[in-house]
């Protein structure tokens, strides 16, 4: 049973269309993804989810590839099929030598990839926050700060983790189908 409704661009209200347009303008995408179209029946929800995603992923100090990795790790840990597939593509493009099975190592916090060293520290931190946010210690914060991250940047990392968790719940509960461009990943 399909658990969600899809509101295509032509059927959307003018306000929803405005959000769809902003999404395409901001991301450079030629079409609106399924997750956004599944909210299109409510202009308020469409705007709320998009504004949160835009404010978290497309602003701030953290580089976008780092945010993509964070979203991927969180999504994979939560078993969120839709989000993992979306963001796996972006993570793979970080290093041509990576392949899909290598992505597993991100989740286990032993990347070994030829990526900046801070990726490892961030991956460790993300894994801890996802598994046990209440158990996060000052020492774990210190490790990230020793890497060169300011408190503002760590706050942004946690905001990305939180955003990913929100989308994981939404996309998994509704069992959203994958957009065509991400199906090959799975």
């Amino acid at each position: 049973m399909q658990r969600y409704l899809i509101t295509e661009y032509t059927d959307a209200s003018p306000e929803t269309q405005g959000v769809y347009d902003d999404y395409m303008r901001t991301t450079g995408a030629a079409s609106v993804p399924i997750w956004l179209k599944s909210l299109g029946h409510s202009a308020a929800l469409t705007r709320a989810y998009w504004e949160r995603a835009k404010g978290t992923l497309f602003s701030g100090s953290l580089p976008l590839p780092l945010k993509e990795m964070i979203v991927f790790i969180v999504s994979a840990k939560h078993g969120a099929r839709y989000c993992s597939a979306c963001h796996a593509q972006n993570v793979l493009s970080l290093d041509k030598s990576l392949n899909f099975t290598d992505l597993q190592s991100f989740i286990k916090s032993d990347t070994g990839a030829k990526l900046p060293t801070y990726y490892q520290s961030v991956a460790n931190f993300v894994n801890k926050v996802v598994s046990d946010p209440n158990g996060l210690s000052d020492e774990e914060f210190d490790d990230l700060m020793d890497e060169g991250f300011s408190k503002e940047e760590i706050c942004e990392i946690i905001a990305v983790i939180d955003l990913a968790s929100m989308f994981n719940v939404y996309t998994s509960a509704l069992r959203l189908d994958l957009d065509p461009q991400y199906q090959a990943i799975v």
Binding site: P63, L94, G112, P116, G148, S150, E152
Partner: protein
Amino acid sequence: MKQNSESTWDDRTIQQLVSYEALFKLIAEIQPLEDIKEISRQVAKQWKYFANVACFHLVVKKGEIFLVIDGFRGEADVTEVTSLTPWDAYHFESQLPCLIHMEDLQDNPAPPVHLMNKGIAEIEILPFLRLGICIGVINIAARHRPFDELDHKFNRIFSSHFTYRIYDILLRQQSINVLRDKATHDALTGLLNRGAIMERIDTVFKVSKRTKDSLSVILVDIDHFKKINDSYGHLVGDEVLRDVSRRLQAQTRDSDQLGRYGGEEFLFMLYPCSSDKVDIASERFRQAIADHPIILENGDPSGINVTISLGTATVRNSDPNIEALLKRADEALYYSKSSGRNRVTIG
């Protein structure tokens, strides 16, 4: 997992392109900034995005002193020091770039503490020269693993940009301060010039109207100054002006201002200072000059006896502007002169 340690330009990954983008983004972001603390903060946050740099320590010459910028944990600390630590002094002196692995680090001299945090693999030290003089030295710390070839390239490009940018901002600030000083101060006495003291009084006048705190002014004129010039010459006249200025300046509080108003005239601004306090202050100024003769260089050891006449005025509610205030002070000064000089008249 495949690793290609001898990658060519064609094999550059998106991550490396991301590093280039991060480098240019930081350079573009700090370019319009003049605030050294803000520039340093951005550098402390963003350097790790294009090279394996966990923290840095930059020392730049600022005239006779040094500016020290420490970047770590995404924040920057900017301080001025008058003398260098043994570590910094050594590297300023040697003017040689070097790479120190942590296992080879000696105890003496010791690097800054934050460069020895856990996980630091090595420290690269780069000096920067201008016209043969070392103007800055930067220390950059690598975390977890030594710097690779790309790290070295980015570090050299950015270190050079960062150090010279800071140095040029300091030079510009110094030049502006010198020009501002020349524009607002009297060259002979070092006091504020007429324009500057009037501007200060005008600003405080407006504040005093709002706050109701009393503002007082004192006009001071050296008695028989023309006679001093005619008798001893203009060089002695200049010496007298300098000495009187020094003595009057020594009597001012931090909140007061003193300027050279005319040839042998001075103008005090005292704030806050009520009418009952201004006569006490004026008498103190008069005594500072009258009680001790001015001893000239290469002159008569008994010195020249110099006196001053003073006229005061305190702001009234009815004063529309500072001209009204100064007019009363001027009239009071005139009365001091015509009554025998070497005295204070309250306006």
